[in-house]
């Protein structure tokens, strides 16, 4: 395998580093966050997306995701 392209990697992002804490606070919701800062959250993706549109937020470096509830086991 060729050498990993570290320059294009995401290993320096802190966004994945504290997912359990995100689960405790926002489990079962959709969030938009920049690094560890949650900018918006909603029960549905449609609501979250609408909120982001209405806020005319700069979405550069913002990551949107569904947060798994900590009390569930997934079998996708």
């Amino acid at each position: 395998m060729a050498k990993t392209d570290i320059a294009r990697s995401h290993r320096n992002n802190s966004e994945e580093s504290d997912y359990p804490e995100l689960q405790r606070r926002y489990g079962g919701e959709y969030v938009a966050r920049r690094g560890e800062d949650v900018l918006a959250n909603a029960k549905s993706y449609a609501d979250l997306s609408r909120d982001l549109d209405e806020a005319s937020m700069d979405l550069e470096d913002v990551v949107i995701e569904y947060v798994e509830p900590p009390g569930l086991v997934s079998a996708y």
Partner: protein
């Protein structure tokens, strides 16, 4: 050249488990957005909420209807569309099932995605590695 991502962990009632999610760029009407998709090797096709289909310009009524089943086997209605995405610097179109319902996760399934990449989930090394092998 391989692309590397940090492998996170998630909480379950039975302890922490690896949680292979990677950032995926999607070109929506509202601009470029980045989503964290679960790399779901058990999923036949990718999955996303209905709203995303509308945001990329797909007409809901024109999409092919289908049914997606999980462990409960009862199934959920879904519609199949093509989603243009970017992973790292690589653009590709994937077939994606869009579901109109609550708590729909963003999942990268095998179809089209794993036709394009070799996937390594290196749990001891806390990393996910994708190697582009091109389209077949």
């Amino acid at each position: 050249m391989p692309i590397e991502f940090l492998l996170s962990r998630k909480l379950t009632p039975f302890g922490l488990v690896s949680d292979p999610r990677i950032p995926v760029t999607v070109y929506t009407h509202g601009g470029v957005r980045t989503y964290r998709f679960l790399v779901g090797t058990g999923a036949d096709f990718s999955l996303a909420p209905r709203r995303l289909a509308e945001e990329v310009g797909l007409e809901w009524d024109d999409l092919h209807e289908g049914n997606v089943v999980g462990i409960e086997r009862q199934g959920t209605a879904a519609r199949l569309g093509r989603l243009q995405i970017r992973i790292g610097t690589i653009d590709l179109a994937i077939r994606c099932l869009f579901v109109d319902g609550p708590r729909v996760p963003f999942i990268l399934g095998r179809a089209d995605f794993l036709d394009r990449f070799v996937l390594i989930v290196d749990t001891p090394g806390d990393r996910i590695i994708l190697e582009d092998v091109g389209s077949s």
